[in-house]
C-alpha cells in the first residue's frame, strides 16, 4: 500500500523556493489562461461593430469602458498580454534550444542552462517594465 504524494495542479501556481524561471512559468500560465478566456469574449464584444455605432457605443463605450471594474480588467489584460508576449518571445527561442549555451563538462559547482539564460530573463523583465510604464501612463492619461 502506498500513498499518493503528487503536487497536483497546485504546482502550476505555487512555485515555492525555486528560482525565477519557475516563477516565469507560473506567470506565463496564468496570463495565458486569462488571455484565451478574454479572446473568446473579445471576438463577440468587438463583433458588435457590424450592428452600427449605437450598438458599439452601448456595448463597448458604456458597457466596458464605462464600467470601472471591467475597465481596470481591460488594463490588467493589457498587462497580461505584454508579459505573456515578451516572456513568450524568450520561451519560443529557448524551447527550440537557443540562448541556453552548449553542453559543458559538469564540474562542481555545477552551472546550468538556467544560469546561462538568466540574463535573457532579466532583460525581458526590464522590457516588460518599460512598456508597462508607457501603458500605465497612456491608460490613466497622465502622459
Amino acid at each position: 500500500m502506498a500513498k499518493k504524494n503528487d503536487l497536483g495542479i497546485r504546482g502550476w501556481f505555487y512555485a515555492g523556493r525555486y528560482g525565477p524561471q519557475r516563477y516565469a512559468y507560473t506567470i506565463q500560465r496564468i496570463t495565458g489562461l486569462s488571455i484565451i478566456v478574454y479572446l473568446l469574449i473579445h471576438v463577440f464584444v468587438t463583433g458588435s461593430k457590424i450592428f452600427g455605432g449605437e450598438t458599439w457605443n452601448r456595448v463597448v463605450i458604456d458597457g466596458l469602458v464605462g464600467n470601472p471594474v471591467l475597465h481596470i480588467g481591460e488594463f490588467l489584460l493589457f498587462m497580461a498580454v505584454l508579459i505573456h508576449g515578451v516572456n513568450g518571445f524568450r520561451l519560443m527561442l529557448v524551447e527550440l534550444g537557443f540562448f541556453l549555451g552548449k553542453p559543458i563538462r559538469n564540474i562542481y559547482p555545477y552551472e546550468t542552462c538556467l544560469d546561462r539564460n538568466r540574463g535573457f530573463l532579466y532583460i525581458c523583465g526590464v522590457v516588460i517594465a518599460a512598456l508597462a510604464a508607457v501603458g500605465v501612463g497612456d491608460f490613466f492619461k497622465f502622459i
Binding site: 488571455i35 463583433g47 457590424i50 458604456d62 469602458v65 508576449g85 519560443m92
Partner: protein, 132 residues
C-alpha cells in the same frame, strides 16, 4: 497529426502573435504616445473617427483576420495542453480537445463573418452622440 507539428505551429503562431498583437496593442493602448508621434487618429475606441475607418481599411481587415486565426490556434492549443496536463482519463482529454476544436471553429467563423461583413458592408456613421 504528430504532436511535434501541432506544437511547432503553436510556437510559430506565438511568434507571429508577437508581431501582430504587438501592433494591435500599440494602436489600442498607446494612442497618447502615437499622438505625440503624429500617428494617432484620436480615441482608438471612438466609432466614427477610429472604429469605422479601421473596418474600411484593407490592411486592418487583413491583420484582424490573421490575428483571429493565429490567436485562436495559439490560445486553444495552449488550453488543450493544460487539459492534457491534468490527471484525468484519456477519453475526457480527447473529448475536451474535440470540444475546443469546435469552439475554435465556431468562434473563428463568427469572427471571420464580423470582420468581413464590417469591411464589405460597413454600417453608416454615427450621427447622434450617445453616452460616453
Amino acid at each position: 497529426m504528430r504532436e511535434s507539428k501541432l506544437w511547432f505551429m503553436h510556437i510559430l503562431a506565438g511568434g507571429l502573435l508577437i508581431v501582430f498583437l504587438g501592433f494591435h496593442s500599440i494602436i489600442m493602448h498607446y494612442d497618447t504616445v502615437l499622438g505625440y508621434l503624429g500617428l494617432s487618429s484620436g480615441d482608438a475606441l471612438d466609432f466614427n473617427s477610429s472604429v469605422l475607418p479601421r473596418m474600411k481599411s484593407v490592411a486592418h481587415t487583413t491583420i484582424y483576420l490573421i490575428l483571429l486565426v493565429i490567436g485562436l490556434y495559439h490560445g486553444l492549443y495552449g488550453l488543450r495542453s493544460m487539459i492534457y496536463e491534468l490527471a484525468i482519463p484519456r477519453g475526457a482529454k480527447k473529448a475536451a480537445g474535440v470540444f475546443l476544436l469546435l469552439v475554435g471553429l465556431a468562434v473563428g467563423a463568427w469572427g471571420v463573418y464580423t470582420i468581413l461583413a464590417g469591411h464589405l458592408n460597413p454600417p453608416p456613421e454615427l450621427t447622434a452622440v450617445l453616452g460616453g
